[in-house]
Structure formats: C-alpha cells, structure tokens
C-alpha cells in the first residue's frame, strides 16, 4: 500500500462550479445550505456528493423549511433542482420558496446594534465583547432569505426545476424515485466520471421520505441514493418523519446518510425556559468525504429561532435564572440548614 501525497497545486481534479467553494484540505466542494448560520456549524456548507438527512417528528414543518431554504439557495445560483414530495404537492413547495432579502431593508440592517449607550454603573463591562451565539460565515456564497417574502415567479421560471412525481399514480415506490433521480443525473450530465461534466450543480430535495405513501424498502433506497450521489456533482437533502418509522428503519437511514441533523420542534412545548427558541437542532453525524476525519463543530446542541422574517441557528444555552423557582430545591435545603428566617428580607 502506498500513500500519495496530496498536492494542492494539482489542478487535474479541481472543478469550478457556480455556487461552490473548495475545501482544499479534503479536496471536496462545498455549497451553501441556504441557512447562513447553519453553514459554519456543519463545516462551511453541504458537501457535494453527499446525502444529508433531516429528521423531525410531529408536523415536520421545520424540516420542510430547511428544504425550502436549500432550494432557494439553489435558485440563487441557478443550480438545477429536483424536488420530490408525495405528501405535499411539489409545485406548492416551489411556489412557497423564501426569496432573498433586500439588504437595504432596515429590519435586516439594525440586527445586532442594540447596545443601549453607555453603562453608568457597571462601566467596567462597557468594553466587554458581546457574546455572539450564532455563528456567521464570511463566505460570500451564502444568501439570506426572508421567510415572509416569496421568490418571484420570474426567478423560479428561470431555473431548471423538475418535480416528482410527474403524474398521479396508485402505487409509488422508492424504486420509481431512485430511477427518476438516476435519469436526471445521467440526462443532465451530472456524473462526475464524465470527461466533461456539466458545469452546474444538481440540488435534490426529497420531502418526507418514509411516509406511508411510499411502497418498498427505505433502507435499500438510501443505500442506492448514496451510491448514486457519490458519483455525481449533486447534493441531496432528505427529510424523514421519525414518528412514522420504526426504530430500526431510522437507524438504517442514519447509517446510510452522510450527515444527520435532528430537529425537535418546541412550538408546543410548555417548558418556559425554552420559550426563547422554536426548536432544537442536534448534529448526529457529519460527512467524512475523502478523509477519515469529519468537521468538528463547536458544539452538537444548537437551537433555532424563526424570527418574524429570519431563520437563525444559535448555540443552545439555558436562560439565566432570574427568579427563585421550585426547580432548585437544593437552595431551599441549604436555607433550612442555616438560619431559619421566616421572611426573606429579615436580618
């Protein structure tokens, strides 16, 4: 066995595709995920040739939002888009894609500049750097999208978008979907083994795979999908409804995907300490392409907020405890050991 020294100047395999950036140490191409605060968490963007799994239980509304951002980013770069969904009409998903923000909009300008003048008493803290819990990239590739502002029809018509299923059928199996993806990759010239591959990226968004509307074996589907993706200039995001699948099927899907993000919606949570967030994001797996090591994120527990118009991913932390509550029983216990004062302000 021999090792070939990796030479970054080797230009043979360097491919320049629109909307991608090369990670030179691993010789892979990264493309933005569509959520600007997610990219630094997962190592700069989604890796070309990978299957990225998004798990969510319940209504799955946030997983759907992730897919929409993913497709919107593709539209901005004029990538070719393949959008499949059995549960929701795929053309409806396309029509609801969030559009790019107008950077002159005061709503997006004023972000982060809410420091309220000089501190009079605790002036020592004046020069403390404010804690930045959401990471941002300096990469110029990513766009910011406004959830209230849909993508214009003209921009959508300008992009090569294929929808699946093409027509209503009685029984639709995973095999039909894999065949459609295979056809798209081959006909579109996205195979990376071609001598002159097409200078574009195929973005595949698969919504709610594993819903009871599909017939067939989900594990086999993932196996085939992954091997298809590995040989093409394409990137795939798949959402699965975890509450409709067996434990075993979920672990098979996780095993056969390159990256796994798990979303937990907090919209209906009654825990007041988590009310700041709309959901939690856990990184279960990140891709290791062309290397054994994967990107090590600054943490695995993240939370997301859907502000009025923006979607933000932040480091998850509990809020400061401002008032005494029943949750901290040890304090009460400590109190009884010392003086048993009746009133809290008695001396």
């Amino acid at each position: 066995m021999s090792f070939i020294k990796f030479n970054p100047k080797d230009k043979r395999k360097v491919l320049t595709l629109p909307g991608t950036r090369q990670n030179s140490s691993k010789n892979v191409l990264l493309t933005p995920s569509g959520i600007i605060s997610l990219d630094p968490v997962i190592g700069g963007g989604v890796t070309l040739g990978t299957v990225n799994l998004i798990e969510e239980d319940g209504s799955g509304q946030f997983a759907q939002l992730f897919l929409k951002f993913f497709m919107s980013e593709g539209i901005m770069w004029k990538h070719v888009i393949f959008n499949a969904s059995l549960d929701v009409d795929p053309s409806k998903l396309i029509n609801e894609l969030p559009g790019p923000v107008n950077l002159d909009d005061p709503y997006f300008k004023s972000d982060g500049s809410d420091s309220s003048g000089e501190l009079k008493i605790a002036w020592r803290y004046q020069n403390q750097p404010s804690v930045q819990s959401s990471l941002s990239t300096n990469s110029s590739l990513s766009h910011i999208f406004d959830v209230t502002n849909f993508m214009t029809q003209d921009t959508i018509n300008d992009t090569d978008i294929s929808l699946w299923p093409p027509k209503d059928g009685e029984e639709i199996s995973y095999d039909d979907l894999i065949k459609a993806i295979h056809k798209k990759i081959q006909a579109g010239g996205f195979l990376s083994s071609l001598p002159m591959p097409r200078k574009n990226v195929l973005r595949i968004s698969l919504h709610n795979i594993g819903s009871p509307l599909f017939v067939g074996d989900i594990a086999k589907f993932f196996y085939e999908l992954r091997s298809l993706m590995k040989h093409s200039n394409a990137v795939c995001c798949v959402s699965i409804p975890t509450h409709l699948l067996e434990e075993k099927e979920i672990s098979a899907c996780e095993h056969l995907s390159d990256s796994v993000l798990k979303l937990v919606s907090l919209v209906n949570s009654e825990d007041r300490s988590l009310s700041e967030y709309h959901g939690l994001l856990t990184i279960k797996k990140l891709p290791a392409v062309n290397s054994l090591a994967f990107h090590i994120p600054p943490g695995t527990d993240w939370a997301f907020k859907l502000r009025k118009r923006r979607f933000i991913i932040e480091k998850f932390h509990l809020p400061p405890e401002l008032q005494e509550s029943d949750q901290r029983e040890q304090d009460d216990f400590a109190g009884t050991c010392g003086t048993s004062s009746k009133s809290k302000l008695d001396f």
Binding site: Q61, P212, P241, V267, N268, S343, K344, D346
Partner: protein, 281 residues
C-alpha cells in the same frame, strides 16, 4: 372549543374521532352531519360498520343533503387497490363544482381488509385530490375504534393526517362525555384541550372546558416584607442621575497603564536594589 370545531371548519380539514367500546363516538358523527348542511352542498356518509339505512335510523337524521352509502364490501373478494373502488363510488354520488363533506363511520374495516398503508393512502388521496373536477372537500370526519387496532402506532400514523383529533375517554360522571381535543392550527401551533360535553333538555350539545386547578404563586412584593422604602421618587432618581461618582471620570480617561503615587514615610526602609535582580524575567 368542541362546538367551534363542529360548526366552522377550515376547507380540507380532517377530524379523527377515536372512540372505544366504553364510549361511542356516534353522537359526534350526528353533530358533524347536521352541521355540514350549512357548509357544503352534499354530505356523503360512508357506512362500513353498518348498513346505511340502519345507521340513519340510529342517528335519527332527516337531512335531504346527506346520503348514506353502503360500503360493506363483499369480504370474500380481495380488495386490492382500495382507492379505486372507493373513488368510483364517490364519483357516482357527487356532481361537478360541489362542496362536499365526507363522513366515515369506521376506519376499522378498512384497516383490517387493506392494511394501514392502504388506508393511509386512501385518506391522503381523499384529502389532496378532488373527487371530480371542481369539487371541494370541506371536511373529512372519520371514526376509528382505538381498541380494535393492534398498536398505538397505527393510530398515531392515522392521526398524522388529521388536523383535529378527538379522543373520547370513559368517565364516571353521569350524562357527561369526557374528551381530549388536539387541534392543529394552520401555523403549526397545536391546541390541546380537555372538555366535557353533554346534552341539555332540548337536545342541544353543550361543552365546557375541564377546569384544572392551576398553581399560581403570588409574586412576592418586597415592599410588604420590610420597613425600608425600596422605591425611588422622581426627584430622587433625578438627583441620582446627576450625581458625579468619583470613579466615573477615571474610567473615561482611557489611560490604561495605571499609576502608583507613593510618598515614602520618614522611617521607610527604602530598598534601592531590585530583589528580583537575579531572575531572568
């Protein structure tokens, strides 16, 4: 909330009623059928458990727009592809551009004959695809006898499709029905409520939210605990803001180095030599 759910529905909503041998959900079906006359031009009741005529007698409904359709298929024949026979039955009963409400008296026989996946697919297609061109489904109401299904997963799969879930639970109260309602709003928020419902003397269904004793702690007012006055008056706040604190100025100087002013005492033992002289600092 129950009354509101019955009387004003969103288009394309699916209400799943889960009952059991102890509490029957038939009374709710009656309410839904009667309320549907204001919302849709036609109400189709698909009868799987009983013959249409006997269900109609049971529910005691005289509604010209409601049609009771017998769906007790011949079980000897295999019913592969449930969707097609059901669709052709429905197609023969509706005309173009009609608003339709579909009521299913029980999903149990569908489940046993065709399996969970087919049942799910059939309901999904009813909800997403119009029966005929221009027909609009106003509401789909289905009863499922939760004790006849083998596992809870089947119910949770079916309820994944439902926008409203009404779970009937046995109660000891006389003449009252106890129900749990889970309603998913359009924006994804889920409202959960526990209610009691009953019929009054004139036969009108009434409902009431179950009152839970909520533990509300009174916020402690610190002023009541002490003889000190903890608040400030306006003049005092003004005086405080005008007061120049001795250290404020030094902090704004921007002189970061710091200085030591030291006046030696007469009997100070002043050591000229640096004691750390030999160290290589």
């Amino acid at each position: 909330m129950l009354k509101a759910l019955i009387s004003n529905c969103q288009p394309n909503s699916f209400t799943l009623i889960e009952d059991s041998v102890d509490v029957s959900g038939k009374f709710l079906l009656k309410e839904f059928i009667e309320a549907s006359k204001t919302q849709s031009q036609k109400t189709l009741v698909l009868c799987f458990d009983k013959l249409g005529s006997s269900l109609k007698r049971d529910l005691n409904i005289e509604l010209p727009t409601a049609e009771f359709i017998d769906c007790c298929f011949n079980y000897q024949e295999s019913l592969s592809g449930l969707n097609k026979p059901l669709r052709s039955i429905l197609e023969s009963h509706v005309s173009f551009d009609e608003k339709v409400t579909i009521i299913i008296d029980s999903l149990t026989s569908l489940y046993y004959n065709n399996g969970l996946q087919d049942t799910y697919r059939c309901l999904h297609s009813l909800l997403t695809k119009p029966i005929k061109k221009g027909t609009q489904l106003m509401q789909l109401v289905a009863v499922v006898h939760s004790d006849t299904l083998p596992d809870t997963k089947s119910i949770s799969t079916l309820s994944h499709l439902a926008s409203t879930e009404i779970l009937l639970v046995p109660t000891n109260l006389v003449n009252r029905r106890h129900l749990f309602i889970k309603h998913a709003k359009k924006n994804g928020k889920i409202v959960k409520q526990e209610e009691y419902c009953w019929y009054d003397k004139s036969g009108v269904l009434l409902s009431e939210e179950k009152k839970t004793v909520s533990k509300v702690e009174d916020a402690i007012d610190p002023n009541g605990l002490t003889t000190f006055r903890l608040s400030l008056e306006e003049t005092e706040i003004k005086a405080r803001s005008e007061l120049r604190l001795p250290y404020v100025k030094t902090s704004e100087d921007g002189d970061t180095g710091g200085k030591i002013f030291y006046t030696p005492d007469d009997n100070d033992d002043w050591d000229e030599e640096d004691p750390d002289d030999d160290l290589d600092i």
